[in-house]
Amino acid sequence: MSVDTEEQSRSTSRDEAVAELEQDWGERPSLRSWFSTVDHKRIGRRYMVTAGVFFILAGTDAMILRTQLARPNATVLSPEAYDQLFTMHGTAMIFLFSTPMFFGFGNFLVPLLIGARDMAFPRLNAFGYWVFVFAGTVMFTSQLVGRAPDGGWFGYVPLTDTPYSTGINLDVYSLGLLFLGVSTTAGAINFIVTVVKMRAPGMSLNRMPLFVWAIVGTSFMVIFALPALNLANAMLFLDRRFGAHFFDPGHGGSTLLWQHLFWIFGHPDVYIIVMPALGIVSAVLPAFCRRGVVAYPLMVLAIVTISIISFGVWVHHMFATGLPQLSYSFFSAASTLITIPSGIQIFAWLFTMLRGRIVVRTPFLFVVGFIVTFVLGGFTGVMFAITAFDQQVTDSYFVVAHFHYVLFGGAVFPMLAGIYFWLPKFTGRMYAEKLSRWAFWLVLAGFNTTFMPMHVSGLLGMPRRIYTYPGGLGWDLWNLISTIGAYILAVGLLLVLIGVVHAVRRGAPAPDDPWQGDTLEWGTASPPRPYNFAAVPRVHSLHPMWDERTTVALATGEPLPGHQAMTTSELDGREEGAIEMPEASLLPLAAAVGILVAVLGLLWAWYWTGWYWLAGAGALLIFGALARWLWPPERTPEEAGVAS
């Protein structure tokens, strides 16, 4: 046999194997498969689109708020309407937009970045998505009927407890967040297990992309932080509905208990939001600096230390509650220290730019915008860490300025960078560069025009969460500027939206690797086939796609057949074996519907206690679906392995 024919026969057998894979993994488009899919890419895209819709809703809430605040003594909104709007704006932005959006990125990208075929638990993944949509829908529906939560996003008791809050509003909050918590927890566990067990052979921990590290750090924070929020909300619900007294000082309870529990969750949560964003920055930069991010070990160390220290600073949200000075000085010190790892990351990115050759494209511009704004937001954060100063500005617009600089500047800018960067991979289409640059400049200008003046109005004594204000206190002009800025910002974001929609419908087809990126997702089709990689990638370095050994193996390696994925060892990514991946299923949806029914039952029981039965029915549905879901297949004694 000549060399030529040998090669030919090898490639035809490869083609055959790939065709086989298409058979095994492909999903025929049908209504059923739309509901039953467990493909991490479809689920990831859904997460992103859904979170995007919630962003538009929550952003529209903000635009209405800003309209009301443009002038003193305005009457666009009643106080009740304003309270619901700002609460839903904050709650939705934090819980229904930021976290799920990054979970969407993670869902789509983590398996690709580590060279896996899917998440470790694809069905759990689908379940998490359905729960998220249902929880978000319940919460936003409450806004449509004018019964939305109105206690602020951190829902301080006693205002949110009986007798001060008697409507159903805060039940929507506590139950909605508990409901959503199921999804977030499931997602976090899934991420960790995926990263721990499913990395491509050769991807030892020190070859793991920084974005993946960020997702793991985030997920660990979720595992340890979310229980505090869930517990607090369960207690709130018991207090409100069943007359418990956790937060009632008249019966031995404590209102500060709520604050502690909330912020033990709440502070890690802000890093849960920003950490994946920082990961995106680390993922985008190499492609546009033509070199890897400098000081990889330090970056990993920074991610790990932030994840840990973030659990030791929560009292900085309670600096005005009159706790002992000693505890303040401790939490103040911890809060100042947390800036060091953030600073390390900022300077590492700057040195990456200095040592690389910069190619300016829209994703890179958004990274620059991120650095400018996040650093400013970080500085005001450090100022709050100084207790005495915080006592002066806490609960004023200065705080509102801080957290928009870190949330929008620190999280949304990288998110937009990520959207433009991975759009080719998500959709197989390129975006239009010119439109996207307009969007960038408008967003940057609009953002700063909106939120920079809030520093001033805060220092001039304007408290947050006021539905209107009297004129003549020096706030009028600054508020007007903010509102104008918000409109500019909305136009910028509208251009982003138009750009994405345009790309999806009419964009030029994207090559597999438009940026010559360094990580594995660029080593597969745009958008990837359902099995992601035909041959399991072999990783030999931190930048596998800049490594010929990997690219060659990807193109010519022998495909891993069947509906299988590879598992590897936890630390050094040694090959362990292949496991069978679950098929598409409607059970995750059924279980999620079960929770939805239970939650609706509990909610409606506010009107008529008979609905508690509906909640019971929901619980039965959940148990039924789970039992079905986990029921093991029947096996012959040989298959199972039974001693005679």
């Binding site: 000082p249 330090l298 010190a333 400018v372 100084i386 806490t394």
Partner: protein, 338 residues
């Protein structure tokens, strides 16, 4: 009992100018709530701390912008090369050593200020209890004892005043931006802070913890006045309301005591002893009605009584259907309570 008219006279012109400045001219009282025009011992320290941190932040920001600008400018040179290495040294200096030095310094200064905020340098010469209500402030002097009022807190200039903070319902926060940083009012807990200023003046304050529908209008006026005036003020407040009333005022008083007003409001020395709403013994001279919701003049007062919900939607005083003639009498009675 009768209030000393001479005392009232002594206060009136001053009060007129103050109220006039705050409300009629509006604009001239600009920045009456600004932390950057600090007048009290506590707030002044923080103002200094702020400017220090502001300039440090600007310097570090400039440093970051320089690096960023340099990186962007460098790419324009034709020979810009990709360099290897980890820049550990640069990161260590710029990202660890310098920030650490800055942080330690600022942290130390911050602790010093925190200690300074904890207690005034001299012993307080007066104690006042501030009780937060949805959505107004109850003010009770315990030392010198007796004076009770609402939404208005007087302090003697140059002397620290101890403030004890309690809430009657949900959480509020006591914040006089020009005088003193915040302290929260927390259910089941008594917090404490203090106020001191060397400057006569009016300092607007506003509840700083979201407390429900009318959190926006839960303002408080802190009035710093010379010791003698302060003493007079406290003494006059501790005394029952005046009883020499004109015929109309007398009719107004009867309306007040006959209708539901008295079940919610106190007018000292009369049968009206309700405790749901603010004490009205000196409502005639208060800087506002409804904790900053409206200026205190006959028109607004009348409007407030008939339906305060249009002025301050959601507040806890129900509309009072007082007949038109009675209302005139009631107004003249209320305005006589000074």
């Amino acid at each position: 009992m009768r209030r000393d008219p001479s005392r009232r006279g002594a206060r009136a012109p001053w009060r007129l100018t103050a109220v006039g400045c705050a409300l009629v001219l509006g604009g001239c009282a600009r920045h009456q709530q600004s932390t950057l025009q600090a007048s009290g011992e506590g707030a002044q320290r923080i103002e200094g701390l702020w400017w220090l941190m502001f300039w440090i932040a600007m310097a570090v920001f400039a440093e970051v912008m320089l690096l960023l600008g340099w990186a962007l400018w460098r790419r324009r040179r034709a020979r810009a090369t990709i360099r290897g290495g980890d820049a550990i040294g640069g990161i260590a200096v710029l990202g660890v050593v310098i920030p650490f030095a800055i942080l330690v310094t600022v942290y130390g200064l911050g602790l010093r200020d925190l200690n300074a905020l904890a207690a005034p340098r001299q012993d307080p010469s007066a104690t006042v209890e501030v009780i937060g209500h949805q959505w107004w402030w109850e003010i009770r002097y315990t030392d010198p004892a007796g004076a009770v009022t609402a939404n208005e807190l007087h302090i003697p200039v140059g002397e620290p005043v101890r403030v004890r903070l309690r809430t009657a319902d949900v959480q509020h926060s006591f914040w006089v931006p020009q005088l003193m940083p915040k302290t929260d009012l927390i259910a089941g807990k008594v917090n404490q802070t203090w106020l001191k200023t060397d400057n006569v003046g009016q300092y607007r304050a506003q509840c700083a913890e979201y407390c429900g529908k009318q959190h926006a209008f839960m303002a408080l006026m802190v009035v710093a006045q010379p010791r003698a005036e302060f003493d007079t003020w406290v003494a006059s407040l501790a005394r029952p309301a005046t009883t020499t009333l004109s015929a109309a005022q007398q009719r107004g008083r009867e309306v007040f005591e006959r209708s539901s007003c008295a079940s919610c409001h106190t007018v000292r020395g009369t049968p009206a002893t309700g405790e749901v709403g603010p004490d009205l013994t000196t409502i005639g001279s208060r800087w506002s009605i409804g904790a900053g919701a409206a200026p205190n003049d006959a028109g607004h007062l009348g409007g407030w009584i008939v339906n305060s919900q249009t002025i301050k939607p959601g507040n806890k005083m129900p509309p009072q259907p007082v007949p038109a003639q009675d209302l005139q009498d009631l107004l003249s009675y209320l305005q006589s309570l000074k």
